[in-house]
Amino acid sequence: MIAAAAVARRIVEGKLSNTAQNLASAEKIRNNPKFRELVSKRTRFAWTLSVIVLVMYFGFIALIAFNKALLATPLGVGINTTIGFPLGVGVILGAVILTGIYVYRANGEFDELNRQIIEESR
């Protein structure tokens, strides 16, 4: 699969950036329903994941600010590990996993849609 940006790059290499052809392409992209589909899908996905990260992180911060006792609760009788540990490490792992999910979908589904949009604009 040719990456969309690579297609765009060919346009640039022909020194066509900001020229009539590029403007014509931009005009075609604007009117292509797939462009609106790409932008709305990807934007919604990105903001949803951002909100998840924000809630995870500021939820964690809120516990530190307002409910330290909860984080200090041991995981069980006779166990030293407190709830705070899996929560903190969980935020770190959650952040890594969410970036993985985004890259998987953006570099697959979204880039394919993007490639079609660029192809159809030429």
Binding site: A5, L38, L49, S50, Y57, F60, I61, T82, F85, A95
Partner: protein, 562 residues
């Protein structure tokens, strides 16, 4: 090209002399009854010299293939996502986070995790909202993106100022930390340590540009990740790979006992907790040396991949620093050889930032201590090189080429200006490092992240997402964020009381971001909506074309052919 190489050879010779002087100073220091340290220092120095020799060889190779501005600023856009992910990790994982977080865990346990989590969660936000748009719109600096459809002169001036403020404050923190650390590890005079760091970073950046900087960062990331892995493995091995056993022992030997298992006194009030959280999370997305790394990959696809790899490496590293901190409680605090007998308690010989270093010795003896010391030095070099290159680009690409010459200059001249700017920044960093030697620089990291979150981040995000943004709004709002964050830090306890010596701080909060970042967003919005000039109308109308390019990459700057 020949003059460049002659200059490189001259600089190398000068560096050799410097190092010899430093070594002599170390030998003299060793005579003062620190015989035990002398033996270990040589391991560190030999390993550090190997690192320096390797990175200088890379710089020589990089200098030969750095010809155009794209090579100098962005390594020709030819770095892969995986390489860039490692380089980002190398750019971001500073000695402050390696030694500082493990020291924080050593001193108060759980509190260290608050910083680790905060420093990591900025990365998903960078990926979801910034990375691909930045790659599609920009060329060499984030000012390219902020000024894409806005007034070139005012917006670039603002963005370059924001970049330089962040770069210079961050450099002060790194230089002072480097000087203190190297003084301890290598037994070298503070001033020589600062000069060596400054000289090496000038050589890397001036001759090798982004290619050399990238490889220094990649090598450093590899060394730091493997070194930290070995320490953490050594700790877990001693406790049968059971966190329960590790924690049980730590609770038993630490004077705070159970208190180390939950958040303590680090963040005393809710405002500070949230404010620190905001600064750490959004500040990352406003650091010019980090944003610049996204222009080194060929396209948005590789830019995304690089964030995923970087987040994985950085997250893994922070989990390791946590194990290292607890390991230090169990294995370092219990051994009188590592403790400061004068200060007593948990205080370590050479200060608590030595927790990870002493732990390396406890686990792997003199040889491994030498390795970790050399890694700590390499870590600082990689971070300051990235900072210097970002600062030099702001001066040459934004201020010189766009603002002063109005784009009427050649690439060659721009790169020459950039090389001189790197040298100038290097000299400034060394001088500031010397001036701030005895100062408390603990507030510098908070200040840097707060300024980045309050000045650079709001303008960058609004330029990419909000069609209503105008030049007037961006410059006034961003400047308000910049000034508010700096003033609030100056009036807080860290500077007003601890540096200026007043009895009471004027501002009771340690971190300004909770006030300064919303202020920047609000005034950027306000002055944009109030802007009825014809220019503002044009700028709003240009948003659609910008958004087509930022979403699809149509017309984006591609990699230079090699």
């Amino acid at each position: 090209m020949r003059t460049t190489m002659t200059a490189l050879a001259g600089a190398l010779a000068a560096f050799g002399t410097l190092l010899a002087t430093g070594t002599a100073a170390m030998a003299a220091g060793a005579d003062l009854g620190q015989a035990a340290q002398q033996a270990t220092n040589w391991h560190a120095i030999v390993m550090f010299l190997l690192f320096v020799a390797g990175t200088l060889a890379i710089t020589y190779w990089a200098a030969k293939r750095t010809k155009t501005a794209a090579d100098f600023y962005a390594a020709g856009g030819g770095i892969t996502g995986f390489q860039n992910g490692l380089a980002i990790a190398g750019d971001y994982m500073s000695a402050a986070s390696f030694l500082g977080i493990s020291a924080l865990v050593y001193g108060s346990g759980y509190d260290g995790l608050i910083f680790s989590v905060g420093w990591l969660v900025g990365w998903p936000i960078i990926l979801f909202l910034i990375a691909e748009r930045l790659r599609n719109l920009g060329k060499y600096t984030f000012a390219d993106v902020a000024s894409y459809r806005l007034g070139r002169t005012p917006v670039r001036t603002f963005a370059a100022t924001g970049s330089l403020v962040v770069v210079i404050f961050y450099l002060i923190g790194q230089m002072v930390g480097a000087g203190q650390l190297i003084k301890l590890l290598f037994g070298m005079e503070y001033i020589y340590a600062v000069i060596i760091v400054g000289a090496l970073m000038m050589i890397y950046v001036t001759f090798g540009g982004m290619v050399a900087t990238t490889w220094v960062q990649i090598i450093k990331a590899g060394l730091l990740l493997s070194g930290a892995t070995v320490i953490a493995f050594g700790v877990m091995y001693q406790f049968g790979f059971s966190f329960e056993q590790l924690f049980a022992r730590a609770i038993e030997v630490h004077p705070k006992h159970e208190a180390i298992m939950s958040p303590g006194t680090l963040v005393s009030n809710p405002i500070d907790a949230v404010s620190l959280g905001i600064a750490l999370m959004f500040g990352t997305a406003g650091l010019p040396h980090i944003l610049m790394r996204f222009f080194t990959v060929p396209d948005a696809r590789e830019a995304r991949k690089s964030v995923f790899y970087a987040t994985g490496f950085i997250g893994y590293f922070y989990i390791l620093t946590f194990i290292i901190g607890f390991g230090a409680i169990c294995l370092v605090a219990t051994n009188p050889a590592y403790l400061d007998v004068v200060k007593g308690g948990l205080n370590l010989r050479g200060g608590n930032n030595m927790a990870a270093i002493h732990l390396a010795h406890a686990i792997g003896g003199d040889l491994f201590l030498g390795f970790i010391s050399a890694v700590a030095f390499a870590t600082i070099l990689a971070v300051v090189s990235g900072l210097t290159l970002a600062g030099a680009s702001a001066i040459s690409h934004d201020l010189y080429a766009s603002v002063f010459m109005h784009g009427k200059t050649t690439e060659g001249k721009e790169v020459t200006v950039s090389r001189y700017a790197s040298l100038g920044l290097g000299v400034i960093a060394v001088l500031l490092g010397i001036v701030f030697e005895k100062q408390n620089v603990a507030f510098i990291v908070a200040l840097t992240f707060s300024v980045a979150a309050s000045a650079n981040f709001p303008v960058l995000v609004m330029s990419m997402f909000w069609s209503g943004l105008t030049t007037r709004g961006a410059v006034i709002g961003g400047t308000i964020g910049l000034v508010t964050s700096v003033v609030l830090v100056v009036l807080s306890k860290a500077v007003w009381v601890q540096s200026f010596g007043y009895a009471e701080p004027i501002v009771p909060y340690a971190y300004p971001a909770i006030f300064s970042m919303p202020a920047a967003f609000f005034f950027t919005w306000l002055f944009s909506v109030l802007d009825n000039s014809p220019r503002a109308a044009k700028e709003r109308a240009a948003f659609e074309a910008q958004s087509i390019r930022s979403e699809t990459g149509l017309g984006a700057e591609g990699a230079a052919a090699h």
